[in-house]
């Protein structure tokens, strides 16, 4: 198990809020910390991992945890 430093709950939000909020959140976090993002919006669930990877962060996992519910773990670079 990974230690999660912070959790960002973006459920109920449509794009671009989950995308923008997670982008802003990782900027404020320190290197090596792990962020958990909760989303229930398909497009953001596909995009957040892509965006994070392009920013150089490590996407530890991106799992579908239920009906239209995803949990994304990101390790800050």
């Amino acid at each position: 198990m990974v230690d999660i430093n912070e959790t960002l709950d973006c459920t109920g939000e449509v794009c671009p809020y989950p995308d923008v909020r997670s982008k802003r959140k990782v900027k404020k976090m320190k290197s090596g910390e792990v962020l958990k993002v909760l989303v229930d919006y398909p497009l953001s669930a596909e995009r957040i991992p892509e965006t994070m990877e392009s920013l150089g962060h490590e996407v530890i996992s991106s799992e579908k945890t239920g009906t239209s519910a995803w949990e994304i773990l990101i390790k800050i670079k």
Binding site: G12, E13, V14, V20, P42, L43, S68, A69
Partner: protein, 351 residues
């Protein structure tokens, strides 16, 4: 053109449902497409829009040549295109979806988008016959030419040739610049180009790649054009449903018509797609202010769509393939409008 009620009911629902299925699976929304060009530097949906435009230009041209459809590019009304397009584009960022994006998200169970759809309908009705109609009529009063296209006045014999060239050149360029590098990468990595073993999984359970979405949207809207001999619109459909609900008349005149059945079809298709992919859930934004923003955005979109004589589907996917100058300017203004709103909402505050 009067269509048989049963034909509208069955064909409208079927075409709408396939369209809705593709919209949901491809997450096809021009709000995301345009806005994210500057906001997230993400181009996949914008590429899907570009592919669909080229496919539609070829599709419309073929059926126009064979005399099956009558092309009808809109008259160029500069003020209506500029003001309507900018307001529509600005509004869709607040609404969290363009006309089609909002509609398919209602089918996914997004209640915020349902509020946006109501805003869109109210805004459109206010502009078509309410307090905003004078302003809208004024903006539409100046017309340049009769049916101006990118290559001069519309000509039923010549314009389809330009459309065909536009579509084919577009497809070739996109293949060369966007698809070819990706294919080459796959060949170099010795990956199979298309994985057939998980065809069912990728067709029904996963989001589509941008090029698949673009091609499918192009094909279904070409089918929609052929079936109704006219471009498909979203805003008119919501207005039709509201007219039907308030008048309570289930008849061809004044009741539910082609455009309304398309909307019902999209809702059903998107819902089926979302249920199959296990993505259907009733969701409501936690913040009441977001819901209010979405309603406000919907109102602006309604005004914009009626003023510009069409929403993003009618103008961008219906008009640009016909090379209508009005639709091209409207489309560009929708994009600029969304950039202005994205800047104000998300990029102005640097935090």
């Amino acid at each position: 053109m009067a269509m048989e009620f049963l034909y509208m009911l069955i064909v409208g629902l079927i075409i709408g449902a396939i369209f809705g299925f593709i919209l949901q699976s491809g997450r096809f929304c021009m709000n995301s497409a345009f806005r994210d060009i500057i906001l997230l530097k993400e181009f996949k949906l914008a590429k899907a829009v570009a592919v669909s435009l080229a496919v539609l230009a070829v599709g419309f041209a073929i059926f126009a040549f064979s005399g099956i459809v009558d092309l009808a590019p809109k008259a160029f009304k500069p003020w209506s295109a500029i003001v309507g397009g900018l307001v529509f584009g600005f509004g869709m960022v607040f609404a969290g979806g363009c006309a089609s994006g909002t509609t398919y998200r209602v089918g996914e169970g997004m209640m915020g988008s349902f509020v946006a759809a109501i805003g869109l309908t109210v805004g459109a009705l206010m502009t078509a016959g309410g307090v905003l109609s004078d302003l809208s009529i004024m903006l539409k009063s100046i017309t340049v030419g009769t049916q101006l296209t990118l290559f001069g006045e519309f000509n039923a014999a010549i314009t389809p040739i330009f459309m065909l060239i536009f579509g084919i050149v577009g497809l070739v360029l996109m293949f060369f610049f966007w698809a070819f590098p990706a294919i080459k990468k796959k060949i170099d990595a010795k990956e199979p180009f298309i994985k057939f073993d998980n065809f069912v999984e990728s067709t029904f359970k996963k989001g589509y790649p941008w090029w698949v979405t673009g091609i499918l949207i192009g094909l279904i809207l070409t089918a929609g054009f052929v079936a109704s001999n006219g471009v498909i619109g979203i805003t008119g459909g919501w207005m039709n449903i509201s007219g039907w609900l308030t008048a309570g008349e289930f008849s061809v005149t004044g009741g539910l018509a082609w455009s309304g059945f398309i909307i019902f079809g999209i809702l059903i298709g998107a819902m089926v797609s979302a249920i199959v992919a296990k993505e259907f859930k009733f969701r409501i934004p936690k913040d009441g202010l977001t819901v209010l923003k979405q309603f406000f955005g919907g109102l602006l979109m309604g005004f914009g769509a009626v003023t510009a004589m069409g929403c993003n589907i009618t103008n961008i996917l219906g008009g640009i393939p016909q090379l209508s100058l009005h639709s091209i300017i409207t489309g560009a203004c929708i994009m600029f409008g969304s950039w202005i709103a994205a800047y104000l909402l998300f990029m102005w505050r640097k935090d």
